[in-house]
Each structure stands twice: as C-alpha cells, then as structure tokens.
C-alpha cells in the first residue's frame, strides 16, 4: 500500500511543478513579446526560476522514494 501511496504522492508533486513552471514559461513569453531585445536576460531568469521549482518538486520525489 505504501508503494502505491508513494507513487500517488510523487505524481501530485509533479502536478505542482508542472503548474509552476508552466506559469513561469507563460510570463516569460509575455515579457519577451513586450520587449524582444531583453530576450537573453529573461531567458536566464526563467531557467533559474524553473530549476528552483524543480528542486522543490524533487524534494517530494525523494520523500516518495524513501517512503517506498
């Protein structure tokens, strides 16, 4: 049972990460559309924010791996 719950927990964590990174990507697209010459700065900031959110999601994955 704990194996299934761990898998469900990991899936829920990925939903959170997907939503978060999706919103960042969307805002980055809007910002680039407004000001195309700032493209590289926006891209760097987007990648950093995405990596940090992914770190949070991977916390949950690690807990799921431990719980299994």
């Amino acid at each position: 049972m704990t194996g299934t719950m761990a898998a469900v927990g990991a899936g829920l964590a990925v939903i959170g990460a997907g939503l978060g990174i999706g919103r960042i990507g969307g805002s980055a697209m809007d910002a680039i559309a407004r000001q195309p010459e700032a493209y590289s700065k926006i891209q760097i900031a987007m990648i950093i924010a995405a990596a940090l959110i992914e770190g949070a999601a991977l916390f949950a994955i690690v807990v799921a791996l431990i719980a299994k």
Binding site: I47, I48, A51, L52, E54, G55, L58, F59, I61, V62
Partner: protein
C-alpha cells in the same frame, strides 16, 4: 538516398523487429527466475555505489568487472587492504563478508569464526568504491585542464586565448561576473572565487562524467550520491558561517523591526532557515542527477520489459532526447549550486543597508 526510401526501410525493419525477441542479461545472481526481468533492482544497482566496477555479464553467467580495492579498519583486526574480488559472490575473507540481503545490504560486516556476522560494530570502510574512483578521475581531469590553463597563461601572458583557454576562460569569467560579483559584491568577492570555481567545475565535470556510460572511469554516479552532495552542501555551510560578520548573527537572533514578544517564534524559524538552505542545496543536486539517470535507465529497460526489438528505435530516440535534457541539467545544476552558494555567502557578509 531519397527520404521515401529511408522511411520505407525504417518501417520494414520495425516490422521485422516484432518477430525477434530481445535477450535481457540478468545482472547479478539476485534474479534467479529465468522469465521476468526485474527492472527496479537493475536500475537501483546502476545508481548505487559498489565495491566493484561491473562491466558486463557474459552469457555463461560470469561477471566481468574491475575489482576495486577494499580498505577496512576495525578495532580488533586493524587495517586491512585487499581486492574486492576476494569478497565477490558472497565469499568470506579474513573475517569480512559483503552482506547481500537484509538491512545491511551492500555493507561489509565482520564475521567471527562460526560465520555469524557481527551486526553491531561494523568496520570503518575507507574503500575505493566506484564513486570514489569517479571522483578522483574527475579531480585528475580538472587538474589537467586547469594546470595546463595556468601554464599557458604563464607562457604567453594575458593575450588572446588559444586552445583550451578559449573554452575555459569565458566560463571562468562568467562565474566571476555573473555569479560572484552580483551576489558577494565587488570588494569582497575575490576571497571566495576559489571555492565557487572549484564547486562549479567539480559538479560540472562529475555530472558530465556520469552521463557517459563507458569506459570505466566515466559512468560513475558521483553527484547522484547523497553523501557527496552532503559534503558539498556542508562546505558551503561552513564557509558561510565562518565568514559571517556580526550583522548577520544580529539578523538571525534579533531581526530589526521585530517586536520582542515575537522573538521566541522568530529565532527557531531563523535557525531552521539556517540549516534548511544548505539542505535544499544537497537535495536539489542529488535528486536532479539521480532522477535523470533513473529516467534514462528506465527507458532502456523498456526494451527488456516488452521483450521485443521493435520497441528499440522508440526507446533509443527517447533516450537520446533525455540525454540532451540531462546535458542541460548538468550545466544548470552546477550553475544553480554555485549561484545559491554565492547568494548565501553574500547574505552572510552584508554591507550596510
């Protein structure tokens, strides 16, 4: 060759592949049953550390591996150094045995003369395991790169870069200009540049070496080992604490503008924050790299789970795509670790507001 011909050949091969089944090699003696391929133990074995470097298993069942030295220190028997071939297949040597199952799986325990393992006092294991050899190879590669870089600077001075300089110099300048100076400040960043550069290149070289599966010094899962990332995070932690000045400690224990009756809550929260930041650094690097390796291994295992060759093109295509993503993650995680380390160091030596 015309594209149409290529597409026809591809589909023909796909069709032919469904009639051929793939032979999966069982990795160790653990899976005795002939039929089912145990994907999870296969994957976990490739991620985990081990005392021997397993290269392949021949059809006859024999393992072809490089047996790494085992270095043990126990209070009764003293220092023992021997090849791990003596402990292969569960043999016992000089009173030591490699546990195969149970709680202490993968660890070396000392057995007394009857063969009963002593589960309380494990010998201290200084062995050169796969991870250690991978780390040392990465260190040697790093030393070769940077010593040759400094030698070429000594010979020709600060001139236009050529050779390995032109590859490394932009990266080093990037670490200085985009990571160290914005976060630590233009006056104080020089003291911390050695640590930031070492951390960045150590993590980068180890990540990249983990992606190459073959030959032996490559393909060791170093940064995906939580002990290694723990040490890296501890280095950052110690450096921030030892270079912190009084303003930093005042911020933790008596943050400005906080009414005094809120302090009993704020102080534990700040102390937890002190430890949780390096903890997050550790988990982020470990989980990103390990997750990448697990994904690539699972996609390859798909071929053996479905037991048919037609899955192979799809699987290999996905593996190539995931490998590109892993390449990006390798650079990104090195960058993020260094960026956050410099951020924490910068927060610990705050200038006046």
């Amino acid at each position: 060759m015309k594209t149409r011909n290529l597409v026809c050949i591809f589909f023909f091969l796909l069709l032919a592949g469904t009639s051929v089944s793939a032979f999966g090699q069982e990795v160790k003696e653990k899976t005795e049953s002939e039929g089912k391929f145990d994907a999870s133990s296969f994957i976990l074995e490739h991620i985990a550390d081990s005392h021997e470097w397993h290269i392949m298993t021949l059809q006859s069942g024999k393992n072809v591996s490089i047996y790494l030295p085992v270095i043990l220190y126990s209070k009764e028997k003293g220092l023992d150094i021997f090849s791990s071939r003596k402990l292969a297949d569960g043999n016992e040597y000089k009173g030591y045995k490699l546990e195969e199952e149970g709680d202490l799986q993968g660890k070396i325990v000392s057995v007394n003369t009857e063969g009963v393992a002593d589960e309380k006092d494990l010998p201290i294991d200084f062995s050169m395991t796969k991870t250690v050899v991978g780390m040392l190879s990465a260190a040697i590669i790093g030393l070769l790169l940077f010593l040759s870089l400094s030698r070429s600077y000594k010979k020709s001075g600060i001139s236009h870069p050529k050779g390995i300089q032109s590859f490394l110099e932009p990266v080093i300048l990037f670490v200085r200009d985009d990571i160290a100076i914005p976060n630590i400040g233009v006056h104080k960043y020089e003291k911390f540049m050695p640590y930031l550069l070492s951390a960045f290149f150590f993590i980068l070289i180890n990540n990249l070496m983990g992606l190459i599966p073959f030959p032996p010094p490559f393909g060791a899962n170093v940064t995906g080992n939580i002990a290694v990332t723990f040490v890296l995070a501890t280095c950052t932690f110690l450096i921030t604490q030892f270079s912190a000045n009084r303003t930093y400690w005042r911020h933790i224990f008596a943050a400005p503008g906080v009414p005094f009756w809120l302090l009993p809550i704020m102080i534990p929260v700040e102390i937890i924050g002190l430890f949780s930041k390096p903890f997050a650094l550790m988990i982020r690097l470990f989980a990103n790299i390990t997750a990448g390796h697990i994904i690539v291994l699972s996609l390859i295992c798909l071929i053996f789970i479905f037991n048919s060759l037609s899955v192979a093109p799809v699987s290999i295509f996905f593996v190539i795509f995931m490998d590109f993503l892993e390449l990006l993650v390798a650079f990104l995680q090195a960058y993020i670790f260094t960026l956050l380390s410099s951020l924490f160091i910068g927060m610990a030596i705050p200038e006046n507001h």
